[in-house]
């Protein structure tokens, strides 16, 4: 973009690290200069992380959050992918169902909590239900869009070769739609992670979200709050990166040549 020479390989590490250090310095001096008693400095947070690890609390909470995400997300995928594929395959069905989807999608999963609690009570199932809801819509939408965007000429080529409907779906349409489906799955995972944390702040008593709220409520431990937030960010990033690695597999790669 700019006219400077091409960045070297080492710069890929250098600049992010420099930016992070800059942020830490600004943070540290802001705390020092304002002489705040409540807001922690980077060092406090580092100690808090160590404390959490030491007390084995961190792993338990991380496990709980991840578990809820896993169950809710996989359930949403198992239900959502077939539905999404069908909607993409039958445009008339999509046209009928779409308005309902569009109406339900903007309702924050958190707003479902009272209803969820009625059906599932307070605890794990409610949180899992929230994750399910949050992941369901992006998955359905992405699958439908993926199938719908498969060029008609691929389907025709398949018919030409005498493929039955199911074979057509499996051998041609699904692989062609896969890049978009994967992007939708990745986004859904990101949303699931956001929602599980939010859900844990209200409806359960374990997990990273709960850690955030509880650290404040029982003792104004803002260092723990920030430690938990940092963990949330890092794990969310790891989930995203892991998924992107999946997208890099050769059999999927071709669809991404024109994307990002």
């Amino acid at each position: 973009m700019s006219d400077l020479k091409s960045p070297r390989a080492w710069e890929r590490i250098f600049w992010p690290v420099a930016a992070a250090l800059l942020l830490l310095c600004v943070w540290h001096y802001a705390v020092v200069l304002t002489a705040t008693k409540v807001f922690p400095s980077p060092l406090n947070v580092e100690k808090a992380i160590a404390e959490l690890i030491h007390k084995h609390l961190l792993w338990a909470d991380i496990e709980d959050s991840l578990r809820r995400v896993a169950v809710g997300y996989i359930a949403a995928a198992l239900v959502g992918i077939p539905i999404g594929l069908s909607l993409g395959w039958f445009p008339e069905a999509h046209q009928v169902v779409n308005p309902v989807l569009q109406l339900m999608r903007p309702i924050s999963p958190i707003a479902w909590i009272p209803v969820a609690i009625v059906f599932f009570g307070v605890g794990d199932p409610a949180a899992i239900f929230l994750v399910f809801l949050a992941s369901f819509f992006p998955i359905v939408v992405a699958c439908a869009a993926g199938v719908a965007s498969v060029p008609v000429l691929y389907r025709r080529a398949g018919r030409n070769l005498g493929l039955s409907n199911f074979a057509l779906l499996r051998k041609i349409v699904f692989p062609a739609a896969l890049p978009q489906i994967l992007i939708g799955l990745r986004i859904a995972l990101g949303v699931a992670w956001l929602v599980v944390v939010a859900g844990e702040m209200i409806a359960v008593d374990s997990g990273l979200g709960y850690l955030v709220i509880d650290s404040r409520n029982s003792g104004k431990r803002y260092d723990l709050v920030l430690a938990a937030m940092l963990m949330i960010g890092v794990i969310g990033l790891i989930l995203d990166l892991a998924f992107r690695q999946l997208e890099k597999l050769k059999s999927v790669r071709w669809g991404f040549r024109h994307a990002a």
Partner: protein, 251 residues
């Protein structure tokens, strides 16, 4: 018999509503009300003027938080995206901040801003800032070189270049990102209101349940949330239709 196209989704919704009503009737004493009770609840809210008041409160917070995020994140993101090193520096950090649910910021929001409007605006700001920043950085990347070269060819000054080539070129992608982020903001405001404020649609849901198990109002609130969220989305989409904003990279 072929039904007219526009009729089919409406019929589908009616069928769902009917099934819902039936399910409720079959379980007397169920806490969750049927659609008719929900409609009555909505009317009640309208009559007391609460519905309008809560809708305005929620929209007010979303608008402020979202607009603040736009005017800070977008120019910053465009500038960072323009300089490859800028993006290299701040992309990883942004990627760490983005997965942190805005609600996780609640303790900090309350610490800095107390309970109330400012808190929720802050939460929406945080929830919108990083997605918008990343969108702007990516949008600059995706400007075809031809446009940039043509801009340089005509000898534009830097400020003219930014105003007449850069911004128009990133507009379509920015608008899509803004629409998606607005959707996220709407989700966040409702959640934030459920936890940290005393008015708005999110609060309505929590309050209706806490003060008397008024699940008809709870569901009424959910329906209104869905409708307004959809309207916001439609409004943004219509912005995308403006011809001078509208172009596709593949012509």
């Amino acid at each position: 018999m072929r039904l007219p196209v526009w009729l089919r989704p409406i019929l589908f919704i009616l069928v769902l509503l009917a099934a819902w009503e039936l399910a409720v009737r079959m379980h007397p004493g169920a806490l969750i009300p049927g659609p008719i009770a929900v409609a009555a609840g909505m009317l009640e809210l309208l009559q007391h003027g609460l519905l309008l008041k809560y809708v305005v409160a929620s929209l007010f917070r979303v608008t402020w938080g979202f607009v603040l995020a736009c005017v800070t994140a977008i120019p910053l993101g465009l500038a960072l995206g323009w300089y490859r090193r800028g993006e290299m520096a701040f992309n990883p950090l942004s990627q760490i901040f983005r997965p942190i649910s805005p609600l996780a910021w609640i303790p900090i929001a309350i610490l800095w801003f107390g309970v109330g409007d400012l808190s929720s605006i802050f939460l929406i700001f945080v929830g919108s800032f990083f997605p918008l920043l990343l969108t702007a950085m990516s949008a600059v990347h995706n400007i075809p070189d031809v446009y940039l070269n043509a801009g340089r060819n005509f000898g534009l000054s830097s400020s003219a270049f930014v105003a007449r080539v850069l911004y128009p070129a990133v507009m379509p992608q920015l608008l899509v990102g803004m629409r998606i982020t607005l959707g996220i903001s709407w989700l966040v405001v409702v959640a934030a209101e459920m936890i940290a404020v005393n008015s708005g649609l999110g609060f309505l849901i929590v309050d209706a349940r806490n003060a008397g198990n008024r699940y008809d109002l709870v569901v009424a609130g959910m329906v209104v949330i869905g409708v307004i969220g959809l309207l916001l989305d439609v409004a943004m989409r219509s912005l995308e239709q403006i011809k001078s904003f509208q172009w596709r990279s593949s012509e």
